[in-house]
């Protein structure tokens, strides 16, 4: 992926990607500690080769899919997305990845499947943060099937054309740009198709604060802080807050998924 292809869509959307340094030094990946710098410091302990993704549940071809095998079947492209953390900071990240729909189609989604559950690697000896019960390990996330099949939803395997660093969720992670960042689960080892809403880690830890949907929504506050505006990382000490956009700016593309739903209730 050349730099030219990064610049054009970025300019077209008015999105200026954050630097490699910003994207890879400021992370939430609690398996390596709760500090923003902990993942960059400790994630090198995680072995990502070999890597398999177990795809099970309501699929035609369940099994362990090797990372290289998956990559040989997928078309990797670049997506420059806004990334909005539930903590009210944001970045713009030039991901490389493939559409999750393509991977799910590889396994063959069965009729009747309504949800997709995801799990992060849980290997305590390589993940010093997991010795504390900050959350229930392994980290779990989930999407409704139509959200998972949406063309904006990708599995990211790179940033700036380089393999995705461990602290950002190597070797592959989910990216759902219209949801708060914690939905975009990292270092995925398992994908399960189900007909019931799967349990998700933050929702289990504090359901009042973290809903299953967790769509970016400036009108629905987190109980402890407003979501109406955000701080853009990289602006320095005196950066102005900017208003947060409905569905993180992807309203035209995804609002239809939630037609008729009360988004204050299904937050």
């Amino acid at each position: 992926v050349g730099l030219a292809s990064i610049a054009k869509p970025a300019l077209a959307e008015g999105l200026e990607p954050n630097s490699w340094e910003e994207i890879t030094s400021y992370n939430n990946f609690y398996e390596f500690g709760t500090g923003k710098g902990d993942p960059a410091e400790y994630a090198h302990l995680m072995k990502t080769d070999p890597w398999t993704i177990k795809i099970d549940g309501m699929v035609d071809r369940p099994g362990d899919y090797g990372f290289d095998q998956v990559m040989s079947e997928m078309t990797v492209e670049e997506r420059i997305y806004r990334f909005r953390c539930v903590e009210a900071w944001s970045m713009v990240i030039p991901w490389n990845g493939f559409e999750l729909a393509d991977l799910l189609n590889l396994a063959g989604v069965q009729e009747g499947a309504k949800y997709v559950g995801f799990e992060t690697l849980y290997r305590p000896e390589e993940m010093p943060g997991t010795q504390y019960p900050v959350l229930e390990w392994p980290y779990k996330e989930g999407l409704r099937l139509d959200e998972a099949m949406h063309p904006l939803t990708i599995m990211a395997t790179g940033i700036y054309g380089k393999p995705i660093p461990n602290q950002n969720g190597a070797p592959l992670r989910l990216v759902v740009p219209w949801k708060y960042g914690f939905k975009s689960i990292k270092s995925i080892v398992r994908i399960t198709l189900t007909d019931k809403e799967p349990p998700t880690s933050w929702n289990q830890a504090n359901g009042r604060e973290y809903g299953f949907y967790s769509n970016v929504n400036p009108e629905v506050s987190h109980p402890r802080w407003s979501q109406a505006s955000e701080r853009k990382i990289g602006g320095g000490l005196f950066a102005k807050r900017v208003p947060t956009l409905m569905f993180n700016g992807y309203e035209n593309e995804v609002a239809g998924l939630y037609e008729g739903m009360d988004l204050a209730k299904f937050y």
């Binding site: 030094s25 609690y30 710098g37 900071w89 504390y132 959350l135 407003s226 701080r231 000490l237």
Partner: protein, 206 residues
């Protein structure tokens, strides 16, 4: 205890203005680091957290002065005012960073103070500390007489509020804020037990 005696002798020679100086230089240095990129990619949060956490540490140190003297003989009494004033200074800076650099929007600041319990609690703690800081001088002690002591017991309340504020702001189950709160509650308990004993002693003698 020769070590403690030695330490006390050394500390006696240390003027308390040194503490004020170090306490004032540190935030200025942090601010400078923030300006030149030395605090990472999110300097606002680093400043905010650092000021808050240092304020809590100073609060704990202030609460520990009396028990330290009682149980170890270490005498930090002459620094207690400086510790208290610096605590307030750091809480004020923590509040200012949050207000000016983080939230920025005044209407939202006000809404946050009213609507978000952890911010309400933090603000109440700050308001309690304000008169303590203003009366941390010899003139006020003379002027207020015995009322001064009562007023400055507000520090205990503020300490608990500060500890609770930190616990409430954490995401997920985190150990560090709980350790701070445990220290604060522990030191207050030691104090309560201590004053209970001295009351008992008084009644026995009286």
């Amino acid at each position: 205890m020769p070590v403690v005696d030695h330490l006390n002798t050394t500390l006696r020679k240390l003027p308390s203005w040194v503490l004020y100086a170090v306490g004032a230089v540190y935030p200025a240095w942090l601010l400078y680091q923030g300006l030149i990129g030395g605090l990472g990619v999110d300097p606002v949060k680093v400043l905010e957290h650092e000021m808050g956490e240092r304020a809590l540490q100073l609060l704990i140190l202030g609460l520990a002065v009396t028990p330290l003297r009682r149980f170890t003989g270490l005498n930090l009494m002459k620094f207690r005012r400086a510790i208290g004033v610096l605590t307030f200074f750091y809480v004020l800076l923590h509040l200012l960073v949050w207000l000016v650099l983080d939230v920025q929007i005044l209407s939202q600041v006000w809404a946050d103070i009213l609507k978000r319990p952890y911010i309400t609690i933090g603000m109440v703690g700050f308001v309690i500390l304000l008169p303590l800081a203003l009366t941390s001088n010899n003139w006020s002690i003379r002027k207020l007489g015995p009322k001064w002591r009562t007023l400055h017991k507000g520090a205990y309340v503020a300490a608990v509020l500060g500890g609770v504020h930190y616990v409430m702001v954490a995401k997920g189950f985190q150990l560090e804020p709980l350790i701070y709160l445990a220290f604060i509650v522990g030191l207050l308990a030691v104090r309560a037990i201590g004053s209970g004993r001295s009351l008992l002693r008084k009644s026995v003698h009286g």
